[in-house]
Amino acid sequence: MDTDPALPIPISYISGSYYLFSIDAVTYLRREHHICGVLIGTLPQIPQQNVFLAMPLQLMPEEARLLVDKGVACIVDEVKAHKDGMTSIMEEDRKRYLQDLEAEGLQAMRLQNRRKEQLREEALKNLDAKKAAKASKKAAQKQDNAAGDDFALELFAGGEQAQDAGPQRPTPSETAMAVTPSTSYPPMPSRPTSDQILPSPEVPSSYPLFAHLHTKGYFLSPGLRFGCQYLAYPGDPLRFHSHFLVVSAEWDEEINLMDIIAGGRLGTGVKKGFLVGGAEQTGPGSEDSVRMFSVEWAGM
């Protein structure tokens, strides 16, 4: 888990949005740079639900910009990279890649077969417990079958004696599972060429506030669900509820009083503070000119 990917991490830019497809990059950025993004893919283990989602991870333009500014990541035109990359794959690379995939598929197949065996064993053990009377007879059968265990079982079962019961099934076929990889690197070269690198992402005017909160250690995520621009979490959203509903304003913008009332009321309703802030336009180079105000509903 703690593998650090090579920097800069390529962020895929595809038709207006920013994505990460490598799980190592996702874990690394979350751990080291407090960038969470939004998972938008279907979790293949349990595909019919929306609570736990999976790769890819969609990044806000603000997040992508922050990472590029920090020098941690670069933006890659993924459509172009694929157009260039797929046609220029060498024959040997192609073969090696397919072999690697097949090996992975074979491994997965063995693991699954082993797990199936285990489940079967467990089920049969339970059955054994119920049929205590027939225990002695079963034991004799086990002795017979232990010898006939297939290769995969021996490989993974380690030293422990595999206990198989019941009639011996035909050895599971050793055909590899097909694998759909998450990323295209390999077979494509892992470093994007310079003409595939895009400039820093365009960001909305709320970026200074976003960056400021981020430097203060907050984890930020899109806030539409709570009627704001960003949700600010004091720690990793996996373990903490958010503290603030963040709305950005221009420095000289006149804020409608009703918006403040509504925001304060809304935030209090979901046990969060309503935070409004913005950056003073003091010219380039000057930092820390962001002011923020938190509004709470005072129960008078």
Binding site: S12, I14, S15, G16, Y19, F21, I23, T27, R30, R31, C36, G37, V38, L39, I40, T42, L43, P44, Q45, I46, Q48, Q49, N50, F52, A54, M55, P56, Q58, E78, V79, M86, T87, I89, E91, R94, Y97, L101, G105, L111, Q112, R115, M177, A178, V179, T180, P181, S182, S184, S221, L224, R225, P234, G235, D236, P237, L238, R239, F240, S242, H243
Partner: protein, 448 residues
Amino acid sequence: MADTDEAAAHLPASQDSAPQIETDLSDETQDFRFLNNLAFPSDSSQTSLPRRGEKDFEPNPTNYQADILDASRHAMHNALSHPRLHHPKHRVIAYYAPDGPAPPPAIDVTEEKDEKETATNDNNEHNLTKERSPETGTGISVPEDSCVYVPNPKGQYFKSMGRADRWNRVWLLPEEALYLIERGSLDIRWPVSVTGPTAEEGEEDLGIPMSLQAAYACFTGRGGLSVERFSVYTGLRRLGYTVIRAPGWDDESDEVQDEDSAPQQGLGIFGRFLHWLHNWNKSTGITTTGPVVGLGLHRSYNDIYRKLAIIPYHDPVTRQSPRRKTTPPFRVVFHVYKPSTVFRKSAPPTPDFRIAVVNSRTQTTMPTQAQLGALLESTPLDPPRGEKMDRMMYMRLRHGYRNVILAVVDQGVVSFLRIGDAAFGKEKVYAEKPPGPKKGGFRPRPKK
């Protein structure tokens, strides 16, 4: 009603300890440790979802908290690094066709030539026509935007997805292919034409498997499929709904709704105004010179109330003509069917929901009344019917006479809003019997 609403609003606050039933788990990031019980590779039987977990208020420097966070992240890493595998028994192979629908390469030479020509012609007029005519390329109308074909379709997914062509290959639209590859149900291969020279004959004629990354790079942005639309599509699919493209998908074509369902033929704004003027003159007399109700014998309060109703109101049943044109993004792009609705690909029934997709980053303001009005007018009349609706006025108001769902997408986070065309003017509150404590639940049907 206002009072009960207030009470309901205060309820969760007053009962903090009680579990809130209506909490949507997908509202916030969930702790991936709950997925730990799903070991690799998971069983299909193990599909129950974990409960909402307790989170801490704020970080503190204890090892205890750090350990839990580590465990959570580890669980997340494990869950997300799970590969998408295809068991040989259930594996469905598909091929990516970058140039859109085309006939298979291995057919009769002369025929092929003809069809290749038409196919390329069609590709040139990309996006202009959504459905190709039956004579061209792939035979039976395969949508022009399709870009993945499955030579040997099996499995439940093809009941509601894809279109078969003359050679029994099922063509998938980009969103369908992306959804299937993402959930690990489809093994898409690069066509040999893209990946370069063919390998030795027979040994590997399948091509390189397409990665998820490649699938996103190839399919989003193709044929009008923005990632916002895809997020809505896949989110609803995951919940079991059947989702198909609506005619309003392309920017050029507006959804044409046959107005046969509207019982009253439209009078038009002017006609309606005349109509109203006529009635108003007849029933209420001239308000500028005299009392609104007028002189005469008044035998019931209802007559008086009826005469007092001098302000014209919006009646959703009467059709406006000419129909206003919808403006993107406020246009129906998806037709959605409940899992219980019997769905046939060849003849889709009337959709249960109509959805317009809005990107909150490009559309930052609420829609204008004209935009919403046009959007609602593009949906068919769906008046509140049924015994319950007849009985309960607030349900009628909430249901409205037309409805549409706005899916607002903020960087991958989707919120659904239902917009109904409520007809407050049609609810004659004075005609309702007050719900007395001893009179029982019966209320007369309001006059239309």
